[in-house]
Symmetry: C2
Subunit: 152 residues, 2 copies
Amino acid sequence: MTAAKRKRQDAILELVTTRAIGSQEELRQLLIERGWEVTQSTLSRDMRDLRIARVPTPSGVRYTAGEYSGEEGRAMLPTLLPQLFQKMEFTRELIVVKTFSAGAQPIAEAIDAEGDPDILGTIAGENTVLIICRSEAAAARVAKRLLALAER
Amino acid sequence: MTAAKRKRQDAILELVTTRAIGSQEELRQLLIERGWEVTQSTLSRDMRDLRIARVPTPSGVRYTAGEYSGEEGRAMLPTLLPQLFQKMEFTRELIVVKTFSAGAQPIAEAIDAEGDPDILGTIAGENTVLIICRSEAAAARVAKRLLALAER
DNA sequence: TCTGAGGTAGCAATATTATGCATCATTTCG
DNA sequence: CGAAATGATGCATAATATTGCTACCTCAGA
């Protein structure tokens, strides 16, 4: 991630927690005033990255940054997986990830930290992580994403 | 509120907390399977009433019902205000609500319980509630809404 | 029963957000 | 440095959500 992107996302996080913002376009204006000129598309992606929730209220829609909105744990999986990943299989809504050495625990923690709603929970052994997903479709999505992360 | 609406919203709340739902249309299909046939417009309104947040995640958008999503405290203000409201004035981002007898405390609590993002906080005296809003615009919105609630 | 008030919900139009694709920028390696 | 790979972003458009308006339904009171 570029420095510019990181700083912009910091600014977004601050704006969102500081003010009651009601649309990405409104946020865009505030960012422009502060010297960041980007399109709404980019903000949509930033909001996804930051997990900023859109909450409807009696007085209109508002964005709020919640527990997972930081950028801490998010970077963990992309660095851990390529290191420790060995192979993966899945059946129904269960995914089994094989890792090298004692890689299961840290990977399970990183996965939990992501807070992916497709994932109900994980169980880590020595070099095996079991991921329990919400559904078969969810498992497929998760598996695909993990594989993409691992392969780099 | 009609019984049908209440039951439907109960069903929505359960579905949303049970599954990973990604759009109002998807929710609509699930409701139809369960015997509720309504349009997406209605669901949009239900989601607002229930304060169901739309959270973007790496694996797509998901809805989640949070702390304020119940229907408890929400009914309080509409019943309290018409009873206790005397008059209201506001200046900048401050709103002062005058109430009858010892009405300030319960009204302040009901307002707090709403969790309106336009409102930073409230201070209640004997028969005066001070509402500190996020901005002048926020104060205007809040004042308008409170007035509408009071006048019935 | 008739009538009016208040509340719901559908429809259609509008507003907002997400995304596929192409392009430009940045980093990595040889 | 130059080429290739990866990442970031804009543009156009698709997907989703919100809302004004109207119709209808229910309940209370005359």
